[in-house]
Amino acid sequence: MRKNRKLPGVSFVILMASVLLAISFSIQAGDFTQEDLERWDKEFMTVVMKGEKLFHSALGTNKVSCDQCHPNAANTHPETYPKFQQQIGRVVSLFEMVNWCIQNPLEGDPLPADDPKMAALLSYMTYERRGVPLAPGKH
């Protein structure tokens, strides 16, 4: 490439474009490495641990915590949701039943579905139930 005033600018752009093009051929959109997986898993587990703390704390107004009736989140059956929830009269997702429990036995206020606390609780409950096959709708 012959140098002149304009050429370095143009050539630089062409050079960068080539480099980028080359890079983009080797890393596909959505590609991820083992390192990514491990990092993301750790991210998830921090939320699971947050959930574990919340699950074992008084989320309502009467000092009662979820684990008093659900040690290790047992008998919460996250794998059966969505399902017809007798106590609510319609088909619901797990977070709605968590809120039912917060409002009723724990005499507290419900959490929004996208509240970080709810995400943490759901992560912990589901994690403690890992490996169990899905059974949506099961009572």
């Binding site: 017809f84 609510i88 009269g89 319609r90 409002q103």
Partner: protein, 371 residues
């Protein structure tokens, strides 16, 4: 309400298949309710309904010839009687509030304590109760239905029976069949909830529905489900109504049980308030059932004041306040110790309670409203 009279032209003799098909078609459920359960040995026909209607309104089947089923189950009063406790012959007072007959076809047991399993078996009891129709036995009824020419024709057409062939079995079947046609769905709630008519309920009633399912905790016993709403779970719960009238100690309990054993449940519970307060316990003798009464449907509840098994709650506002205080009218009353685990204070505001009442008023089926 679609009655067989309008849609079914024929008699029982046209064949079981046709009758069954017609029954299913004619009794396709209204909005919000499942198909009416009909026993296979007592299918619905227009003639049978007509016969049952006539029997239901016949005051001759009482010792004073003044009391019929319709006396306490008056079509103009939501098929109840607007009294706290019903009054039979000579205005004799019983101990219990007349339940509505509307939608009783969906109940798995009859009476507040479920002591009779079907509409058929229930219908025979009030005739023999001293504070209801006051008959010693069913003979006066049988005499009339066997000899009265109008009845003779009807029984012949419906059951193919005449004279002494007619028994209480046929009478009970006809009465039950008439009651089975008293079905009420299609309320403003049904149109809102199951048909998506947003304008069918007022904003207050819509808020009330939210409370009903949520903070009010009503939905667990007074069922609303995904495609139907019976408003009853058909179970028995001790919710604390008139708990102070229940036997207070072992001696009183033993006396009440003796009463039941001596007189028979039907007569004992309607003659003595303390015995009546036993509720389902009188039938099962299970302490979990003490003071427990059947969850009534809330459909048409606006029409059937006063409320509870002894009519002790005059208005819906009172009822809601009772539940809000966790099974007592006043917060300062003691909590009944044998209360069902489902009853607890609700912490509803005055506005929430008012909204809940508005929702309850949206459960009325238009065909039963008296203009």
């Amino acid at each position: 309400m679609k009655t067989t009279a309008r849609y079914f032209k024929g008699t029982f003799r046209t064949g079981i298949i046709a009758a069954t098909f017609a029954a299913c078609v004619a009794f396709a459920a209204p909005v919000g309710l499942p198909p009416v359960p009909v026993p296979t040995d007592n299918l619905i026909t227009p003639e049978k309904v007509k016969l049952g209607d006539k029997l239901f309104h016949d005051t001759r089947f009482s010792s004073t010839e003044e009391v019929s089923c319709a006396t306490c189950h008056d079509r103009k009063k939501g098929f109840a009687d607007s009294l706290p406790v019903s009054e039979g012959i000579k205005s004799l007072k019983g101990t219990r509030n007349a339940p509505t007959v509307i939608n009783s076809a969906y109940l798995r047991t009859q009476f507040w304590d479920g002591r009779e399993p079907t509409l058929e078996s229930q219908s025979a009891q009030p005739f023999l109760n001293p504070v209801e129709m006051g008959l010693k036995d069913h003979e006066p009824i049988l005499k009339i239905v066997r000899t009265d020419p109008e009845y003779a024709e009807l029984f012949k057409n419906v059951f193919g029976k005449t004279g002494d062939q007619i028994t209480m079995v046929e009478v009970q079947k006809a009465l039950a069949t008439f009651q089975r046609t008293l079905i009420g769905g299609n309320s403003p709630f049904d149109r809102y909830y199951f048909e998506g008519e947003k304008e069918a309920m007022s904003p207050a009633a819509i808020r009330g529905l939210d409370i009903y399912i949520g903070q009010g905790r009503c939905v667990s016993c007074h069922l609303i489900e995904q495609t139907q709403a019976l408003f009853t779970d058909n179970r028995f719960h001790m919710i604390g109504v008139s708990a102070n009238q229940m036997p207070q100690d072992l001696d009183e309990l033993l006396a009440a049980v003796e009463d039941v054993k001596k007189k028979g449940t039907d007569i004992a519970v309607l003659s003595n308030p303390k015995t009546s307060s036993l509720g389902r316990y009188a039938v099962t003798r299970d302490l979990t059932d003490i003071g427990a009464f059947k969850t009534p449907t809330l459909r048409n509840i606006e029409l059937t004041a006063p409320y509870m098994h002894d009519g002790s709650h005059k208005t819906l506002e009172e009822v809601v306040r009772f539940y809000n205080n966790g099974g007592r009218l006043n917060e300062t009353d003691p909590l009944p110790e044998l209360l069902s685990g489902g009853i607890r204070p609700l912490n509803l505001t005055e506005k929430q309670q008012a909204d809940l009442v508005e929702f309850l008023k949206a459960l009325t089926s238009p065909q039963f409203v008296q203009k």
